[in-house]
């Protein structure tokens, strides 16, 4: 800024020339300068006042608005949960097909300690040990008097124990609410349910996660709040399950078996009505898995789904069906059955020698290995493999249990003609009893593929037609003959026309080869044969029947009587009225040689 000089030379000279007083010019200029300074100072002060007024105005209005809001709003404590939040029933119940509870939640408490606020750690520890004898006194004292701020003591305690802990009266002992998983039926259907444990744990809650069975398979669904407390409805029926387990346990004891499994399947829907595997366990108190030895000896092992076994002669019916389906044979076709049969360096023998020839029906009825091998020779390995694939024998069953994935069939490395022949009579291919049940249900369902499921009322199965209804019907007639005059004569239950096929498979040694005195005896049955509604597969692990002079291990003496008792108990519960069956099935003439 150019300052105007107080005594501008031009004007001074001009004033001197005209005789005016040059000091007046200076005074005039000083006055003007003073006015300018005063004006700018006034403007500045005014601006400051406005800014101050705005700031105060804002501050007061903030306070005022806040006061108005406080005055207008209702007083309420801030709460974490919305009105609709439910802390209860985080995990859905599991019920059977009639709505009876198989798994539910129970409110309980966890016990923890905060040593810094504890009054008398030593006495408290002593009193705690009196309530919970499994706690270690020395360790508690060490935990309580050390530098720890937080100690979990018990994950679940009963109301009585909680009261006893309350009575100790130490402020350092605290409770956290918990929902625990409860299986009110104990060991019933243990392998299906599996079990649960606590996952992420906090003081105020803990999540429950499934560890096995359907609890693990459907873990996400069960924990999903979007279901709004709807239970998971299984296809199992509590009554049937209980009856099957009772009879199976008795049968296992009588037949001196070390394990047993049973599957009861509804043919039309593929729903599993009962599934048992013995020995079993209590899912409320799940035992630890074996750390050494054979996992299949653990009670946790689900023999019905996880265990893959060579299922023996129960496979023979598939060869017979395929032969009929391909037009290679009909039930009366005579098959060469001279035992032993030689194939290269292999010899195939029968249990007894059944003469030179047997009809196809009699090959099944008498369970001739040689006859079946001859039939498979006619069919050929490729066609046999394809047929077994359509029946589901080449992959896991897809049942809704985590263990089902482990039940992957063991197939021969090379599906040669000799392995095809042995597979024909059930050796060389290992599958789970559930595979067998599904395949037998397919036969009983008129040849429409049945896929087993544990969920009640699932989507309707549009089963693929695996075999012609006529072939399925003839196969059922053969299986009926197995019971009326064949290896499963103990399987006859008056009024229920059981049709079935026995299978006695030598157990494979882990080192290779087969045991002489250890078998797996299986009986796969469908009833009633005129309109098969249910399929039962029952198998016993290493059974010995010792009532006779020498020990008997064949399925006809071991698995079949147990299965017959199961059917006798279960059929009335299923609402099946005993019907006197037709003396002879339509279109079937019995052939004797």
């Amino acid at each position: 800024m150019i300052r105007t000089p107080l005594r501008p030379l031009a004007r001074i000279l001009h004033a001197r020339a005209t005789g005016a007083n040059p000091d007046e010019i200076e005074r005039e200029n000083i006055r003007l300068r003073g006015e300018a300074t005063r004006d700018s100072a006034r403007v500045q002060a005014a601006t400051r006042l406005v800014v101050m007024a705005l700031a105060f105005g804002l501050a007061f209005s903030t306070v005022g608005v806040r006061m108005a809001m406080l005055a207008a709003a209702e007083p309420a404590e801030p709460s974490l949960n919305g009105a609709e939040t439910q802390i209860l029933a985080q995990r859905a119940d599991i019920v059977d097909r009639k709505g009876r509870v198989l798994a539910t939640n129970l409110v309980t408490h966890a016990l923890y300690a905060q040593p810094p606020i504890m009054v008398d750690p030593v006495t408290t520890a002593e009193k705690l040990v009196q309530i919970f004898p499994d706690l270690d006194r020395e360790r508690l004292i060490r935990d309580f008097s050390g530098g720890r701020k937080f100690v979990w003591l018990k994950k679940k305690i009963s109301p009585e124990q909680m009261q006893a802990v309350h009575d100790i009266g130490d402020p350092g002992l605290l409770f956290g609410p918990r929902e625990m998983r409860l299986y009110p039926n104990g060991a019933l259907a243990a392998h299906v349910l599996g079990g649960a444990r606590f996952g992420q744990e906090g003081v105020s809650s803990a999540e429950i996660v499934g560890v096995a069975g359907i609890e693990k398979q459907r873990d996400q669904w069960l924990a999903d709040p979007a279901n709004q407390g709807a239970p998971l409805q299984l296809s199992l029926d509590l009554t049937l399950q209980s009856a099957v387990e009772e009879v199976l346990a008795g049968g296992m004891k009588l037949m001196n078996a070390k394990g047993a499994s049973a599957i009861l399947l509804e043919v039309e829907t593929g729903e599993v009505l009962a599934m048992a595997s013995l020995p079993d366990f209590d899912p409320n108190d799940r035992p630890a898995p074996l750390t050494k030895g054979d996992q299949s000896d653990s009670p946790l092992f689900n023999r019905a789904v996880q265990g893959v076994y060579e299922l023996g002669s129960t496979f023979k019916i598939f060869a017979a069906i395929q032969a009929m389906e391909l037009g290679l044979a009909n039930p009366e076709t005579m098959i060469d059955s001279a035992s032993p049969m030689r194939y290269g360096k292999h010899r195939i023998r029968d249990f007894h020698n059944y003469g030179k020839q047997l009809s196809l029906t009699d090959v099944i009825v008498k369970s001739s290995n040689v006859g079946t091998a001859r039939i498979v020779q006619m069919i050929g390995p490729e066609r046999q493999k394809d047929f077994l694939e359509t029946l589901g024998f080449l992959e896991p069953t897809g049942l809704e249990l985590v263990e089902a994935g482990a039940g992957k069939p063991i197939l021969p490395q090379k599906w040669s003609e000799i392995s095809a022949m042995t597979i024909g009579y059930g050796h060389g291919l290992s599958a789970s009893p559930m595979h067998l049940a599904a395949a037998y249900a397919t036969i009983a369902n008129g040849g429409k593929r049945v896929i087993p499921t544990l969920i009640h009322g699932g989507p309707k199965q549009g089963g693929q037609q695996v075999m012609s209804p006529a072939a399925a019907r003839r196969a059922l007639a053969m299986m009926r003959a197995v019971v009326t005059r064949g290896t499963a004569s103990f399987g006859e239950v008056p009024g229920y026309q059981v049709a079935g096929k026995t299978g006695t498979a030598d157990k494979a040694k882990p080192t290779g080869g087969y045991y002489d005195d250890k078998v797996i005896a299986t009986f796969a049955a469908a009833f009633p044969v005129t309109d098969p509604k249910y399929v039962l597969v029952l198998s016993l692990d290493e059974p010995v029947e010792t009532s006779g002079g020498e020990p008997r291990r064949t399925a006809g003496w071991t698995a079949v009587p147990v299965a017959a008792e199961v059917i006798r108990r279960v059929a009335p519960l299923l609402g099946l009225r005993p019907e006197p069956g037709p003396t002879e099935l339509e279109g079937i003439t019995l052939v004797r040689n």
């Binding site: 439910q86 009876r100 539910t104 039926n185 104990g186 019933l188 006798r568 009225r577 005993p578």
Partner: protein
């Protein structure tokens, strides 16, 4: 006239204010009641869960079987068996109720005339 209009408006405003406050406090009461009910529902549901678990536990098949065996003398229950099915023809028709009050004519009519012949 003007005074009357102002008075009416003033009274209306006061009335509306009273009504608004009333509704406000009513709503607050209802909300408190709702919260109370929800707490009650939650605790009842918890109790229901316990009762359902208890019911399932008391009715577990193992226990029922044991109880039936213990009380066989009184109950005489056996597992269901095929023999227990019957057919409708095995059920007897209900016996007609005999009316014994009415006098029965033991002597057939017309017997005397026949006997006299």
């Amino acid at each position: 006239m003007k005074i009357f209009v102002y008075l009416t408006i003033g009274l209306t405003v006061m009335g509306l204010a009273f009504w608004a406050y009333h509704v406000n406090y009513d709503t607050q009461d209802r909300q408190a009641e709702l919260r109370e009910l929800q707490r009650e529902i939650a605790s009842l549901r918890e109790g229901l869960g316990v009762l359902r678990a208890e019911w399932a536990y008391q009715n577990r098949p193992d226990r029922l079987r044991e109880l039936v065996n213990l009380n066989f003398m009184a109950l005489q229950l056996l597992p269901m068996a095929p023999e227990q099915f019957g057919s409708a023809t095995q059920v007897a028709y209900p016996q007609p109720v005999l009316e014994l009050n009415a006098p029965i004519d033991v002597v057939a009519t017309g017997v005397e005339e026949e006997g006299a012949e």
